[in-house]
Protein backbone atom coordinates (compact mmCIF):
# COMPACT_ATOMS: atom_id res chain seq x y z
CA UNK A 1 0.00 0.00 0.00
CA UNK A 2 2.85 2.21 0.78
CA UNK A 3 4.43 1.27 -2.47
CA UNK A 4 1.26 2.11 -4.36
CA UNK A 5 0.93 5.50 -2.71
CA UNK A 6 4.53 6.26 -3.41
CA UNK A 7 4.40 5.33 -7.07
CA UNK A 8 0.82 6.34 -7.80
CA UNK A 9 1.93 9.29 -9.89
CA UNK A 10 4.24 7.07 -11.92
CA UNK A 11 1.58 4.43 -12.41
CA UNK A 12 -1.04 6.98 -13.43
CA UNK A 13 1.29 8.72 -15.83
CA UNK A 14 2.28 5.33 -17.35
CA UNK A 15 -1.38 4.42 -17.78
CA UNK A 16 -2.03 7.80 -19.36
CA UNK A 17 0.83 7.28 -21.83
CA UNK A 18 -0.46 3.79 -22.72
CA UNK A 19 -3.99 5.12 -23.18
CA UNK A 20 -2.60 7.94 -25.33
CA UNK A 21 -0.62 5.48 -27.47
CA UNK A 22 -3.65 3.24 -27.93
CA UNK A 23 -5.89 6.17 -28.68
CA UNK A 24 -3.49 7.67 -31.18
CA UNK A 25 -2.97 4.41 -33.26
CA UNK A 26 -4.22 5.19 -36.83
CA UNK A 27 -6.94 3.09 -38.48
CA UNK A 28 -8.11 3.39 -42.12
CA UNK A 29 -10.99 5.78 -42.59
CA UNK A 30 -14.15 5.13 -44.63
CA UNK A 31 -12.67 6.47 -47.86
CA UNK A 32 -9.57 4.30 -47.55
CA UNK A 33 -11.66 1.23 -46.73
CA UNK A 34 -13.75 1.86 -49.81
CA UNK A 35 -10.62 2.24 -51.93
CA UNK A 36 -9.17 -1.05 -50.70
CA UNK A 37 -12.46 -2.87 -51.26
CA UNK A 38 -12.79 -1.43 -54.77
CA UNK A 39 -9.19 -2.31 -55.66
CA UNK A 40 -9.65 -5.83 -54.39
CA UNK A 41 -12.91 -6.24 -56.27
CA UNK A 42 -11.37 -4.84 -59.49
CA UNK A 43 -8.34 -7.15 -59.13
CA UNK A 44 -10.52 -10.23 -58.64
CA UNK A 45 -12.70 -9.26 -61.58
CA UNK A 46 -9.64 -8.64 -63.80
CA UNK A 47 -8.11 -11.98 -62.75
CA UNK A 48 -11.37 -13.73 -63.68
CA UNK A 49 -11.41 -11.96 -67.04
CA UNK A 50 -7.76 -12.92 -67.60
CA UNK A 51 -8.59 -16.53 -66.93
CA UNK A 52 -11.42 -16.35 -69.51
CA UNK A 53 -9.09 -14.73 -72.02
CA UNK A 54 -6.51 -17.50 -71.47
CA UNK A 55 -9.19 -20.09 -72.15
CA UNK A 56 -10.28 -18.24 -75.28
CA UNK A 57 -6.68 -18.12 -76.46
CA UNK A 58 -6.22 -21.81 -75.75
CA UNK A 59 -9.39 -22.64 -77.76
CA UNK A 60 -8.13 -20.52 -80.65
CA UNK A 61 -4.74 -22.25 -80.55
CA UNK A 62 -6.50 -25.62 -80.82
CA UNK A 63 -8.64 -24.24 -83.65
CA UNK A 64 -5.54 -23.01 -85.46
CA UNK A 65 -3.83 -26.39 -85.06
CA UNK A 66 -6.90 -28.08 -86.55
CA UNK A 67 -6.90 -25.61 -89.45
CA UNK A 68 -3.19 -26.22 -90.07
CA UNK A 69 -3.78 -29.97 -90.10
CA UNK A 70 -6.70 -29.46 -92.49
CA UNK A 71 -4.50 -27.34 -94.75
CA UNK A 72 -1.79 -30.02 -94.81
CA UNK A 73 -4.44 -32.60 -95.68
CA UNK A 74 -5.88 -30.46 -98.48
CA UNK A 75 -2.38 -29.82 -99.88
CA UNK A 76 -1.69 -33.56 -99.89
CA UNK A 77 -5.08 -34.12 -101.53
CA UNK A 78 -4.20 -31.58 -104.22
CA UNK A 79 -0.96 -33.42 -105.01
CA UNK A 80 -2.73 -36.77 -104.99
CA UNK A 81 -5.50 -35.60 -107.33
CA UNK A 82 -2.90 -34.05 -109.64
CA UNK A 83 -0.99 -37.34 -109.88
CA UNK A 84 -4.15 -39.42 -110.35
CA UNK A 85 -5.35 -37.04 -113.04
CA UNK A 86 -2.03 -37.29 -114.88
CA UNK A 87 -2.18 -41.09 -114.67
CA UNK A 88 -5.77 -41.11 -115.94
CA UNK A 89 -4.93 -38.78 -118.82
CA UNK A 90 -1.91 -40.91 -119.76
CA UNK A 91 -4.14 -44.01 -119.66
CA UNK A 92 -6.73 -42.32 -121.89
CA UNK A 93 -4.07 -41.29 -124.39
CA UNK A 94 -2.72 -44.84 -124.54
Amino acid sequence: MKFLAKNLRLILSSLAVIALLIGCTQHPDEEQIQKLEETKSAALSAEKKLSEKKKERSDLEAQLEAKKAELAKVKAEKERVKQKLEARNAETQN
Binding site: T25, Q26, H27, P28, Q32, I33, K35, L36, E37, T39, K40, A42, A43, A46, E47, K49, L50, K53, K54, E56, R57, L60, E61, Q63, L64, K67, K68, E70, L71, V74, K75, E77, K78, R80, V81, K82, K84, L85, R88
Partner: protein, 281 residues
Protein backbone atom coordinates in the same frame (compact mmCIF):
# COMPACT_ATOMS: atom_id res chain seq x y z
CA UNK B 1 -47.11 -9.94 -31.82
CA UNK B 2 -44.58 -12.53 -30.69
CA UNK B 3 -44.34 -13.85 -34.19
CA UNK B 4 -43.73 -10.37 -35.59
CA UNK B 5 -40.92 -9.91 -33.09
CA UNK B 6 -39.45 -13.26 -34.02
CA UNK B 7 -39.32 -12.28 -37.67
CA UNK B 8 -38.38 -8.63 -37.41
CA UNK B 9 -35.65 -8.66 -34.79
CA UNK B 10 -33.31 -11.03 -36.64
CA UNK B 11 -33.93 -9.05 -39.82
CA UNK B 12 -33.03 -5.78 -38.17
CA UNK B 13 -29.85 -7.37 -36.76
CA UNK B 14 -28.96 -8.77 -40.18
CA UNK B 15 -29.45 -5.41 -41.88
CA UNK B 16 -27.35 -3.74 -39.21
CA UNK B 17 -24.40 -6.12 -39.56
CA UNK B 18 -24.56 -6.57 -43.33
CA UNK B 19 -22.02 -3.79 -44.13
CA UNK B 20 -19.63 -5.55 -41.73
CA UNK B 21 -20.23 -8.91 -43.47
CA UNK B 22 -19.62 -7.38 -46.91
CA UNK B 23 -16.23 -6.13 -45.85
CA UNK B 24 -13.33 -8.51 -46.32
CA UNK B 25 -11.23 -7.40 -43.42
CA UNK B 26 -11.67 -6.39 -39.84
CA UNK B 27 -10.98 -2.71 -40.35
CA UNK B 28 -11.70 -1.94 -36.70
CA UNK B 29 -8.46 -3.61 -35.71
CA UNK B 30 -6.51 -2.92 -38.90
CA UNK B 31 -3.54 -0.61 -38.63
CA UNK B 32 -2.40 1.65 -41.43
CA UNK B 33 0.76 -0.36 -42.06
CA UNK B 34 -1.29 -3.50 -42.67
CA UNK B 35 -3.80 -1.50 -44.72
CA UNK B 36 -1.06 -0.09 -46.99
CA UNK B 37 0.45 -3.52 -47.43
CA UNK B 38 -2.92 -4.97 -48.48
CA UNK B 39 -3.68 -2.07 -50.78
CA UNK B 40 -0.30 -2.48 -52.45
CA UNK B 41 -0.85 -6.23 -52.83
CA UNK B 42 -4.29 -5.83 -54.47
CA UNK B 43 -3.08 -2.99 -56.66
CA UNK B 44 -0.21 -5.21 -57.81
CA UNK B 45 -2.60 -8.06 -58.64
CA UNK B 46 -4.89 -5.65 -60.51
CA UNK B 47 -2.00 -4.24 -62.57
CA UNK B 48 -0.67 -7.73 -63.38
CA UNK B 49 -4.11 -8.96 -64.43
CA UNK B 50 -4.74 -5.89 -66.62
CA UNK B 51 -1.35 -6.34 -68.29
CA UNK B 52 -2.13 -10.04 -68.77
CA UNK B 53 -5.51 -9.18 -70.37
CA UNK B 54 -3.82 -6.76 -72.77
CA UNK B 55 -1.23 -9.45 -73.71
CA UNK B 56 -3.95 -12.08 -74.20
CA UNK B 57 -6.01 -9.68 -76.33
CA UNK B 58 -2.99 -9.16 -78.59
CA UNK B 59 -2.39 -12.93 -78.86
CA UNK B 60 -6.09 -13.57 -79.54
CA UNK B 61 -6.11 -10.98 -82.32
CA UNK B 62 -2.98 -12.55 -83.86
CA UNK B 63 -4.48 -16.05 -83.62
CA UNK B 64 -7.75 -14.92 -85.22
CA UNK B 65 -5.78 -13.41 -88.08
CA UNK B 66 -3.74 -16.60 -88.50
CA UNK B 67 -6.92 -18.72 -88.53
CA UNK B 68 -8.47 -16.44 -91.17
CA UNK B 69 -5.31 -16.66 -93.30
CA UNK B 70 -5.13 -20.46 -92.98
CA UNK B 71 -8.80 -20.81 -93.90
CA UNK B 72 -8.21 -18.62 -96.97
CA UNK B 73 -5.32 -20.88 -97.96
CA UNK B 74 -7.52 -23.98 -97.49
CA UNK B 75 -10.25 -22.44 -99.68
CA UNK B 76 -7.65 -21.53 -102.34
CA UNK B 77 -6.34 -25.10 -102.30
CA UNK B 78 -9.86 -26.50 -102.80
CA UNK B 79 -10.47 -24.07 -105.65
CA UNK B 80 -7.28 -25.37 -107.31
CA UNK B 81 -8.40 -28.98 -106.82
CA UNK B 82 -11.82 -28.27 -108.36
CA UNK B 83 -10.18 -26.39 -111.23
CA UNK B 84 -7.90 -29.39 -111.88
CA UNK B 85 -10.91 -31.72 -112.24
CA UNK B 86 -12.89 -29.10 -114.21
CA UNK B 87 -15.52 -28.92 -111.52
CA UNK B 88 -16.78 -26.77 -108.67
CA UNK B 89 -17.86 -27.12 -105.07
CA UNK B 90 -21.53 -27.17 -106.12
CA UNK B 91 -20.88 -29.90 -108.65
CA UNK B 92 -18.95 -31.91 -106.06
CA UNK B 93 -21.85 -31.58 -103.62
CA UNK B 94 -24.23 -32.80 -106.30
CA UNK B 95 -21.86 -35.68 -107.19
CA UNK B 96 -21.66 -36.72 -103.54
CA UNK B 97 -25.45 -36.65 -103.28
CA UNK B 98 -25.62 -38.98 -106.31
CA UNK B 99 -23.12 -41.32 -104.66
CA UNK B 100 -25.24 -41.39 -101.50
CA UNK B 101 -28.28 -42.35 -103.59
CA UNK B 102 -26.29 -45.03 -105.37
CA UNK B 103 -25.06 -46.38 -102.06
CA UNK B 104 -28.60 -46.53 -100.68
CA UNK B 105 -29.81 -48.36 -103.79
CA UNK B 106 -26.93 -50.85 -103.51
CA UNK B 107 -27.59 -51.36 -99.79
CA UNK B 108 -31.26 -52.08 -100.53
CA UNK B 109 -30.19 -55.13 -102.54
CA UNK B 110 -28.41 -56.63 -99.56
CA UNK B 111 -31.68 -56.82 -97.62
CA UNK B 112 -33.26 -58.93 -100.40
CA UNK B 113 -33.16 -62.73 -100.62
CA UNK B 114 -31.17 -64.39 -103.45
CA UNK B 115 -34.30 -65.02 -105.55
CA UNK B 116 -35.32 -61.35 -105.34
CA UNK B 117 -31.81 -60.26 -106.31
CA UNK B 118 -31.79 -62.65 -109.23
CA UNK B 119 -35.22 -61.34 -110.30
CA UNK B 120 -33.89 -57.79 -110.26
CA UNK B 121 -30.58 -58.54 -111.91
CA UNK B 122 -31.32 -55.91 -114.58
CA UNK B 123 -31.56 -53.27 -111.86
CA UNK B 124 -28.32 -54.55 -110.37
CA UNK B 125 -26.69 -54.26 -113.79
CA UNK B 126 -28.07 -50.72 -114.09
CA UNK B 127 -26.47 -49.90 -110.73
CA UNK B 128 -23.16 -51.25 -112.04
CA UNK B 129 -23.53 -48.94 -115.05
CA UNK B 130 -24.26 -45.97 -112.80
CA UNK B 131 -21.20 -46.85 -110.73
CA UNK B 132 -19.04 -47.09 -113.86
CA UNK B 133 -20.30 -43.69 -115.03
CA UNK B 134 -19.55 -42.17 -111.62
CA UNK B 135 -16.05 -43.67 -111.71
CA UNK B 136 -15.38 -42.00 -115.04
CA UNK B 137 -16.09 -38.55 -113.59
CA UNK B 138 -12.86 -36.79 -112.56
CA UNK B 139 -14.49 -35.97 -109.22
CA UNK B 140 -14.02 -39.68 -108.43
CA UNK B 141 -10.32 -38.90 -107.94
CA UNK B 142 -11.03 -37.03 -104.71
CA UNK B 143 -10.18 -39.22 -101.70
CA UNK B 144 -13.60 -39.11 -100.06
CA UNK B 145 -15.37 -39.81 -103.33
CA UNK B 146 -12.98 -42.62 -104.10
CA UNK B 147 -13.70 -44.19 -100.70
CA UNK B 148 -17.46 -43.86 -101.30
CA UNK B 149 -17.11 -45.50 -104.73
CA UNK B 150 -15.11 -48.39 -103.24
CA UNK B 151 -17.81 -48.81 -100.64
CA UNK B 152 -20.52 -48.96 -103.34
CA UNK B 153 -18.38 -51.38 -105.35
CA UNK B 154 -18.13 -53.64 -102.32
CA UNK B 155 -21.91 -53.48 -101.67
CA UNK B 156 -22.67 -54.38 -105.29
CA UNK B 157 -20.19 -57.26 -105.19
CA UNK B 158 -21.85 -58.54 -102.00
CA UNK B 159 -25.31 -58.25 -103.59
CA UNK B 160 -24.11 -60.10 -106.70
CA UNK B 161 -22.56 -62.79 -104.53
CA UNK B 162 -25.75 -63.10 -102.49
CA UNK B 163 -27.80 -63.52 -105.67
CA UNK B 164 -25.61 -66.31 -107.00
CA UNK B 165 -27.34 -69.26 -105.25
CA UNK B 166 -30.48 -68.39 -107.23
CA UNK B 167 -28.62 -68.56 -110.48
CA UNK B 168 -29.16 -71.70 -112.57
CA UNK B 169 -26.66 -74.50 -111.92
CA UNK B 170 -27.16 -75.96 -115.40
CA UNK B 171 -27.23 -74.52 -118.90
CA UNK B 172 -28.88 -75.97 -121.99
CA UNK B 173 -26.88 -75.26 -125.10
CA UNK B 174 -28.68 -73.30 -127.82
CA UNK B 175 -27.84 -73.14 -131.51
CA UNK B 176 -24.90 -70.79 -132.06
CA UNK B 177 -23.56 -71.08 -128.49
CA UNK B 178 -19.90 -71.63 -127.75
CA UNK B 179 -18.18 -71.96 -124.38
CA UNK B 180 -16.73 -68.43 -124.40
CA UNK B 181 -20.20 -66.97 -125.05
CA UNK B 182 -21.91 -69.12 -122.43
CA UNK B 183 -19.33 -68.19 -119.78
CA UNK B 184 -19.80 -64.50 -120.61
CA UNK B 185 -23.56 -64.58 -119.88
CA UNK B 186 -24.44 -62.65 -116.70
CA UNK B 187 -26.46 -65.64 -115.37
CA UNK B 188 -23.48 -67.94 -115.82
CA UNK B 189 -20.15 -66.34 -114.83
CA UNK B 190 -20.31 -62.94 -116.51
CA UNK B 191 -16.73 -63.52 -117.64
CA UNK B 192 -15.80 -65.19 -120.94
CA UNK B 193 -12.48 -66.38 -119.50
CA UNK B 194 -14.44 -68.72 -117.21
CA UNK B 195 -15.15 -70.96 -120.22
CA UNK B 196 -12.49 -73.40 -118.98
CA UNK B 197 -14.46 -73.92 -115.81
CA UNK B 198 -17.47 -75.11 -117.83
CA UNK B 199 -15.15 -77.23 -119.91
CA UNK B 200 -13.36 -78.91 -116.98
CA UNK B 201 -16.66 -79.52 -115.15
CA UNK B 202 -18.26 -81.15 -118.19
CA UNK B 203 -15.39 -83.19 -119.59
CA UNK B 204 -17.73 -86.17 -119.76
CA UNK B 205 -19.80 -84.34 -122.40
CA UNK B 206 -17.22 -82.11 -124.06
CA UNK B 207 -14.50 -83.88 -125.96
CA UNK B 208 -13.39 -80.80 -127.83
CA UNK B 209 -13.99 -77.36 -126.27
CA UNK B 210 -14.54 -75.91 -129.73
CA UNK B 211 -17.32 -78.37 -130.44
CA UNK B 212 -20.52 -78.33 -128.39
CA UNK B 213 -24.03 -79.27 -129.52
CA UNK B 214 -27.54 -77.85 -129.03
CA UNK B 215 -29.55 -79.34 -126.15
CA UNK B 216 -26.44 -80.48 -124.30
CA UNK B 217 -26.99 -79.72 -120.60
CA UNK B 218 -23.85 -78.42 -118.90
CA UNK B 219 -23.23 -78.22 -115.17
CA UNK B 220 -22.43 -74.68 -114.04
CA UNK B 221 -20.56 -75.12 -110.76
CA UNK B 222 -20.80 -72.19 -108.38
CA UNK B 223 -18.53 -73.42 -105.61
CA UNK B 224 -15.44 -75.57 -105.40
CA UNK B 225 -15.18 -78.58 -103.15
CA UNK B 226 -12.81 -78.93 -100.19
CA UNK B 227 -10.36 -80.90 -102.32
CA UNK B 228 -10.49 -78.50 -105.23
CA UNK B 229 -8.91 -75.16 -106.07
CA UNK B 230 -10.30 -72.57 -108.47
CA UNK B 231 -7.38 -70.96 -110.28
CA UNK B 232 -7.34 -67.17 -110.02
CA UNK B 233 -5.53 -64.71 -112.26
CA UNK B 234 -1.79 -64.57 -111.49
CA UNK B 235 -1.57 -68.01 -109.90
CA UNK B 236 0.85 -70.80 -110.88
CA UNK B 237 1.27 -74.35 -109.61
CA UNK B 238 4.03 -73.71 -107.04
CA UNK B 239 2.13 -70.72 -105.68
CA UNK B 240 -1.04 -72.80 -105.26
CA UNK B 241 0.95 -75.68 -103.73
CA UNK B 242 2.33 -73.20 -101.19
CA UNK B 243 -1.13 -72.22 -99.87
CA UNK B 244 -1.81 -73.42 -96.33
CA UNK B 245 -5.06 -75.11 -97.38
CA UNK B 246 -3.29 -76.93 -100.27
CA UNK B 247 0.13 -78.40 -99.33
CA UNK B 248 1.73 -75.51 -97.51
CA UNK B 249 4.90 -75.97 -99.58
CA UNK B 250 5.59 -74.58 -103.07
CA UNK B 251 7.99 -77.47 -103.70
CA UNK B 252 5.06 -79.89 -103.86
CA UNK B 253 3.78 -78.38 -107.13
CA UNK B 254 4.64 -81.59 -108.96
CA UNK B 255 2.17 -83.53 -106.82
CA UNK B 256 -0.50 -81.03 -107.90
CA UNK B 257 0.54 -81.38 -111.53
CA UNK B 258 0.45 -85.17 -111.40
CA UNK B 259 -3.11 -85.11 -110.01
CA UNK B 260 -4.32 -82.69 -112.71
CA UNK B 261 -2.49 -83.92 -115.80
CA UNK B 262 -5.85 -84.40 -117.43
CA UNK B 263 -6.55 -80.65 -117.43
CA UNK B 264 -3.02 -79.24 -117.23
CA UNK B 265 -0.95 -80.21 -120.26
CA UNK B 266 1.98 -77.91 -119.47
CA UNK B 267 2.84 -77.31 -115.78
CA UNK B 268 3.93 -73.79 -116.67
CA UNK B 269 0.56 -72.89 -118.18
CA UNK B 270 -2.63 -72.87 -116.15
CA UNK B 271 -5.66 -70.66 -116.73
CA UNK B 272 -7.97 -68.68 -114.48
CA UNK B 273 -11.19 -70.56 -113.62
CA UNK B 274 -9.57 -73.97 -114.06
CA UNK B 275 -10.58 -76.22 -111.20
CA UNK B 276 -7.63 -78.23 -109.90
CA UNK B 277 -8.00 -81.35 -107.79
CA UNK B 278 -5.95 -81.37 -104.59
CA UNK B 279 -4.77 -84.93 -103.77
CA UNK B 280 -4.87 -85.46 -100.01
CA UNK B 281 -3.05 -88.79 -99.70
Amino acid sequence: MKLTKLIFFPMIILVAVSPLLAQSYNYEEMEMEEYNQLLQEWQGRLDAAQKGIADEDARIAALNQEITDTQAEIDKCWDEIYAAVNSSKQQDDSYRADLRDLRNDASAFLSMNPEEIYGKKDELTALRDRLAAAQENDLSLLSENEAALNDIESLLAQAEEKGKPAEPDTYTVNRGDYLWRIAKMPDIYGDPYAWSRIYTSNRDQIKNPDLIFPNQIFRIPRDVGPNEHLVAKGEFLSKIAGYGNVFGSPFKWQKLYEANKEVVSDPNVIYPYQVLTIPRN
